[in-house]
């Protein structure tokens, strides 16, 4: 079996998801080709470190910066000449987007966010993510070339140094494919974010108002963490959506997540469940967040949170 892995990178910086995809591909076959749109020597070297026996650079002016349609069409042309058994990318925003374009160009199905692959039959049996991870779906994939993305963060990254050849491939790209090239970008100062924070203090409807978040901000500040929230909060306009944790917000994985006044709806839970520890603070001892958390305090968050901050200050002062 031969597998082609679509490498995702941002102006030469490899996305960690691509290393997950390479690792997943190696579990299927030793014959792994990495397809890199644009790309640099450094990227090619990294692909070889993770098991790609061949690295193909797709070379065209439309491919230097991210361009979903041009990337998809270029990879499709490579697939058409090489005929691999499978094409794999990582299920990130870009990975899913590019592979969807590949699949349309080749008139093939594409299965997104796969967790398990059984390739023993002509029709593959796959398990994929639904509802952002709250539900799984077993599907069969019936296609001459199997196109799929592997769910992000579901595969460990395992290096495997191999000797690797390098090839260039020049696709023929129609002028209209240039219309979805990234034109510009605006870079913000990156501090601690929801995805990188070791401590997240999350507030839900129970916080009651935008001002009610002040004690949560204070606690987060004391612990070098950030504030997150539920959709009830963003829907009420109390906080910006960039703070939302959950299926349609951000996935977090801090050392500790304080879930304060959050009931623990499944769509919130999937965004929080990768946290190493969850401490729920809720007036309702039967709230889903409380029963699923590692730790809980039963009580009014407006009284409990200031008391925690006070205790931290007391111990630090003393």
């Amino acid at each position: 079996m031969s597998v082609l892995v679509v490498i995702e990178h941002d102006r030469g910086v490899m996305a960690s998801g691509s290393l997950e995809a390479l690792t997943a591909a190696r579990a299927l076959s030793a014959d792994v080709t990495a397809a890199v749109c644009g790309g640099t020597d450094a990227l090619a070297a990294t692909c070889a470190d993770y098991g790609a026996t061949e690295v193909v650079s797709l070379v065209h002016p439309f491919l230097d910066d991210y361009a979903p349609q041009a990337w998809g069409e270029a990879v499709a042309q490579l697939v058409a000449t090489r005929n691999p058994d499978a094409v794999i990318a990582c299920g990130t925003d870009r990975g899913n987007e590019v592979l969807a374009h590949v699949s349309v160009s080749l008139d093939l199905p594409m299965v997104a966010n796969v967790l398990r692959i059984d390739a023993s039959d002509a029709r593959w049996a796959l398990t994929r993510v639904q509802w952002g991870g709250s539900l799984l779906e077993d599907v069969t994939l019936d296609a001459a070339t199997k196109l799929l993305t592997v769910a992000h963060h579901a595969n460990d990254i395992v290096p495997s140094e191999v000797t690797s050849t390098r090839t260039d491939f020049t696709p023929t790209l129609d002028g209209t494919l240039g219309s979805t090239i990234v034109r510009d970008r605006v870079v913000r100062e990156a501090g601690v974010t929801l995805t990188t924070a070791r401590v997240v203090v999350g507030g839900g409807r129970g916080v009651g108002s935008p001002e009610g978040f002040a004690p949560l901000e204070e606690l987060a500040g004391l612990l070098g963490g950030v504030v997150g929230c539920s959709r009830a909060v963003t829907n009420n306009g109390w906080r910006n959506h960039t703070d939302q944790v959950g299926q349609t917000g951000t996935r977090i994985a801090p050392d500790i997540y304080f879930a304060c006044g959050i009931s623990g709806a499944i769509q919130h839970w999937v965004g929080a469940m990768a946290s190493k520890n969850i401490l729920a603070i809720n007036t309702d001892k039967d709230a889903n967040m409380v029963t699923r958390a590692d730790y809980a305090v039963i009580g009014d968050l407006h009284k409990v949170i200031p008391a925690i901050s006070e205790e931290i200050r007391r111990r630090r002062g003393g």
Binding site: L135, V139, T140, V187, N277, A307
Partner: protein, 282 residues
């Protein structure tokens, strides 16, 4: 004098002060939403494993799609024109069409398919694309077709892209900002380091992410008006693709036994002990 030339946009995204200028013509926008069950703390599956057990559940659409509807309504408010909401599903999906109508969408299209909520992505896209083509053949092209970034339930990340390609239009997903000009549509999309900007020629297709706006709630007047909207029905063609469902099931859960650290503010000391133990206090 207010009309902008295409060359203005070639390399720079639209400056904010140009966003409110009138366009040469009003906008026709379509927005696609999918009816899904609204589960609470757990998702249950039917005995045959083929669908979510929606007994006692309400129905909704993805938050991404709610925001796509709001974006369509706001663009029409800004530039004039009309918005059409489209869904593929059973007759009950009329509920989601009327919800969109209650917040300002004028026209509603049901692509009817009794089992359409469980169709694979190729099948779904083919039916929606065909329905949109049929409408466009009669009434002219939509300037903009909006989708959610991904559906709430199946999350295939592709129906919008497939439809766009069928209709031969440029498409990007993940939009958290849309500004429409006479020739180009500017899309902002978040990335780790900030956001990137795309400029798509019109007509085009865009996948919208929650956070692009704050969807309004329907007013009483809107609710009443939505009851009067005539839902147009097109039969959905059923052509299964290469991905077939075998069964749905819940992921394994780690058995949890919650340690209650205490009640009320008195628990603070136990909480801070825990923080020390976890090493996040220093």
């Amino acid at each position: 004098a207010l009309r902008r030339s295409a060359s203005l946009h070639c390399s720079q995204h639209q400056p904010p002060d140009e966003r409110d200028r009138p366009l040469m013509s009003s906008l026709r926008i379509a927005v696609c939403v999918k009816r899904v069950p609204a589960p609470g703390s757990r998702i249950n599956v039917t005995a045959d494993g083929h669908a979510v057990d929606a007994t006692n559940l309400g129905f909704t659409t993805s938050p991404h799609e709610e925001c796509a509807v709001e974006a369509a309504v706001q663009l029409v408010e800004l530039h004039g024109g009309s918005a059409t909401v489209v869904t593929l599903g059973p007759v009950e999906a009329e509920e989601q069409l009327r919800y969109a109508a209650s917040v300002g969408v004028e026209r509603a299209l049901l692509v009817s398919a009794p089992d359409g909520l469980n169709w694979d992505p190729q099948n779904t896209a083919a039916a929606i694309g065909a329905a949109l083509s049929a409408v466009e053949a009669l009434d002219g092209a939509f300037d903009l077709i909006l989708f959610g970034n991904e559906s709430a339930d199946s999350g295939g990340f592709q129906v919008g892209i497939r439809v766009a390609r069928m209709l031969d239009r440029p498409v990007v997903n993940g939009a958290k900002g849309i500004d429409v000009g006479d020739n180009l549509v500017t899309v902002r999309r978040p990335i780790d380091a900030g956001f990137e900007v795309y400029e798509l020629p019109r007509p085009c297709v865009i996948g919208v992410k929650e956070g692009i706006n704050l969807p309004r709630y329907p007013t009483m007047k809107g609710r009443l008006a939505s009851k009067k909207v005539a839902v147009e029905v097109i039969e959905g063609l059923d052509r299964p693709g290469g991905q077939a469902r075998v069964r749905l099931h819940r992921p394994e859960e780690k058995a949890s036994s919650t340690i209650i650290l205490g009640n009320g503010p008195e628990a603070a000391s136990a909480v801070v002990d825990l923080l020390a133990e976890l090493g996040v206090l220093a």
